[in-house]
């Protein structure tokens, strides 16, 4: 694993891996969204509004996968002191927050015609809103830690601990519809079984793969950006010191 600890080697790999994820990701995501928007038949109860499924579900998955990335990278940073792990965690925060916000917005738009309300404070919706606030907190903390980089590793470690602690919310989001009576329906896809008909499931899976590739590409792009920031700052500091 420490083979990738060398930022120069990582940057060489990221340079060709990033377009390799972004281009097929965009093609798959937009293809699946067009499929969902124009070719899929209406749902038996929801009718046309079922088409929002193809953006809502992949966003929900990536909102949660984003924090899982932060938590795993934070663990690697804290235990193995891997130099790129903290950067990977910070890079995943903004796209994760963006997908969480997309999930909440599309869910709200979907809830109005189907449930008859924009928002309810049930377990699933509330825990997902908390996830968005956790992202905001993490982004603010990581920004503050970066500015305090001169003060030592302590601030970065606080960010990593926050990333790990916040992961407690992920299983709560996942189980919220099972533990508590909620307006949101229980999970449609559970270990190897799906109550989504194949006509909806296939474009949904393609959309999920496409969105995930976009997420990976954006994380790599942001890691390159953060590394470039760190290099510039180090260079400026060296110059200032003469």
């Amino acid at each position: 694993m420490h083979g990738f600890a060398n930022p120069a080697r990582f940057l060489r790999m990221a340079r060709w891996l990033m377009p390799l994820m972004l281009v097929p990701g965009l093609l798959l995501a937009f293809g699946a969204l067009a499929w969902g928007l124009f070719m899929v038949p209406p749902d038996r109860l929801m009718g046309q509004t079922v088409r929002i499924l193809f953006i809502h579900v992949p966003s929900a998955w990536l909102g949660m996968a984003g924090w899982s990335t932060i938590a795993i990278a934070s663990l690697v940073e804290l235990v193995w002191r891997h130099p790129l792990a903290g950067i990977a965690a910070r890079a995943a925060a903004v796209p994760g927050a963006a997908f969480t916000a997309i999930c909440l917005a599309t869910g709200s738009i979907w809830a109005r015609p189907t449930w008859g309300t924009w928002w309810v404070w049930d377990g699933r919706l509330t825990s997902f809103l908390i996830l968005l606030f956790l992202y905001f907190g993490y982004i603010a903390l990581a920004g503050a830690a970066q500015r305090d980089a001169a003060a030592g590793e302590g601030a970065s470690r606080v960010t990593a601990i926050f990333g790990l602690v916040g992961a407690v919310n992920i299983p709560i989001i996942n189980r919220s519809v099972v533990w508590w009576n909620s307006l949101h329906q229980p999970p449609s896809i559970t270990a190897g079984k799906s109550s989504i008909d194949a006509t909806f499931l296939i474009p949904l899976l393609i959309a999920a793969i496409g969105f995930t590739l976009i997420f990976g590409g954006v994380v790599l792009a942001r890691m390159r950006m953060l590394l470039a920031d760190i290099q510039t700052e180090a260079r400026l500091r060296r110059k200032a010191l003469g």
Binding site: D43, L53, L75, L78, T114, G116, S195
Partner: protein
């Protein structure tokens, strides 16, 4: 030399795993303690077993019994029965129902108990986790598969 470089790493790993176990334990305890308070609605059987005091605002969620929706003479008031596998609660509601409010489907009613009837101020439709195209809803799985095979 090797032991001195590996040891602090393992120490950190053990420390963090212990902290995570404690944290997850605390999270599960909190979720367990919340199990009743965090519920968005009462099931009919819960309402029947422990009725809330009359006039207190509560939510009731369950299935709309098939064939139970009756529209009253004024045209806007409906009576129906919300049930789960153990209990049935009669509900009265005046107003516009959401599109997905149909017999045999889920509903969450906001309102209060008046005697044995639940008087709802607001209805929310709760749909199940199934997504099925309209044309295939009445077909058996085998028929639906045949249709999909044809259209491919």
């Amino acid at each position: 030399m090797n032991t001195t470089t590996i040891k602090p790493k393992h120490q950190r790993l053990v420390l963090i795993v212990l902290a995570l176990v404690a944290l997850i334990g605390a999270g599960l305890l909190a979720a367990y303690a919340l199990s009743k308070q965090a519920a968005y609605f009462y099931l009919p059987s819960e309402l029947a077993a422990k009725p809330p005091e009359a006039g207190r605002a509560v939510r009731l969620g369950g299935m709309v019994e098939k064939g139970s929706i009756r529209t009253q003479a004024d045209g806007v008031t409906i009576n129906f029965i919300v049930k789960d596998d153990k209990a049935r609660v009669p509900v009265r509601f005046s107003g516009i129902t959401p599109d997905l409010f149909v017999e045999g489907s889920g509903v969450v009613a906001e309102g209060r108990m008046e005697g044995t009837t639940f008087v709802a101020d607001n209805l929310l439709a709760k749909h199940d986790e199934k997504y099925v195209p309209r044309e295939m809803k009445n077909m058996s799985t085998a028929e639906a598969k045949a249709v999909i095979a044809e259209t491919k």
